[in-house]
Symmetry: C2
Subunit: 206 residues, 2 copies
């Protein structure tokens, strides 16, 4: 511990994250082993897994904080109004970042969008959001005397999916600006319906 102490001002976790982001971009997620990542980050292999339960988790940020904020945001939503709209608003709120964070966020999201293994992992990581949103929608819809199990599940799954769509579009556009307009556009699409030219009718099929 003689030299290298000042390097550790950046905590171990941050160092691992940075090493992963860098190396994944340069050589591809599947082409780098955890052993190598650990060496690059100056850490033992075992320590890597202490900070991130899976290799893929090093790319996803602090989702636990986000989930807590999401719950809180939904709990604070006014009693009236459409459940799906509340969920969309909460998702937008949770996905607020400072300008300095845009660049890193874009790198994360681009990796997630491009690497199949990370997309698969995203399904796991985002499932809690789906669950929370679905529970919220079920309760609120029941209070309004409407809704069904399918409706509640749809609100959770489709809203979260819309966020992913929004981020993909944001990344494809360079990911330099605030991503929220993209998320909002995707959420508006899921709230208002995919049918072109505005709400053409729920009976669009057949």
């Amino acid at each position: 511990m003689s030299s290298g102490w000042d390097d550790r001002i950046k905590s171990t976790r941050t160092r691992i994250e940075a090493a992963c982001l860098e190396t994944f971009e340069a050589r591809g997620f599947d082409q780098v082993s955890v052993e190598e990542l650990a060496i690059i980050a100056g850490v033992g292999r075992r320590t890597f897994f202490r900070y991130f339960p899976a290799k893929a988790d090093a790319v996803f940020g602090e989702l636990d904080d986000q989930l807590a904020r999401f719950r809180a945001e939904l709990a604070d939503a006014p009693a009236g109004g459409d459940p799906a709209v509340h969920v969309a608003a909460a998702l937008l709120c949770v996905n607020s970042y400072r300008n300095e964070e845009f660049a890193t966020l874009a790198r994360r999201m681009e990796l997630i969008a491009r690497v199949p293994a990370l997309q698969a992992h995203a399904a796991r990581r985002f499932s809690s959001f789906r669950q929370v949103a679905s529970d919220f929608a079920r309760q609120r819809a029941a209070a309004l005397g409407t809704g069904s199990a399918l409706y509640a599940a749809a609100v959770g799954t489709l809203s979260v999916a819309a966020v992913e769509v929004g981020y993909d579009a944001w990344v494809a556009d360079g990911g330099a600006s605030d991503p929220r307009p993209y998320l909002r556009a995707a959420l508006d699409l899921v709230l208002g319906g995919l049918v072109l030219g505005g709400p053409g009718g729920v009976r669009a099929l057949g």
Copy 2:
């Protein structure tokens, strides 16, 4: 090869699938190793991976056939009309099963819905459907002079997500009847919008 020959009237692939379904339901996906599954199915471990590239793939049926049918269905879609509606119709068509298949399909879908590892795998397996649907939507929307990259991506991602929602609801209801009404309900939701009481307005947010 003395005895056991008649058992092999069911092809190796089918035998492995059956063994997996059975054992996963009984003991849980993560609790059974491929080695054990191979023994149960009466094949070598190596043979298992020759038939299914991953342990999780034994639960998903013949998706390649479905994907081909999906492409064909979209190609045959009439020139006019809403792209998302065409996609929804094609998805419904591709998910047509005979009555005798309902039971097995329900068992598969229940496993997929309940096991996180299988949900994650579903994201990989269904990504080709997303891609095909998005490409279709992009081209058709461009031909209509409308649409955007985000719109096309949304059509693919959200439509496929709606199918998953529909299957979840179907499974939750027992999975005894035709699943298509559930898929149709979920697809109608994504086509017409999540906002309760019908299309209330695309500007629902804020």
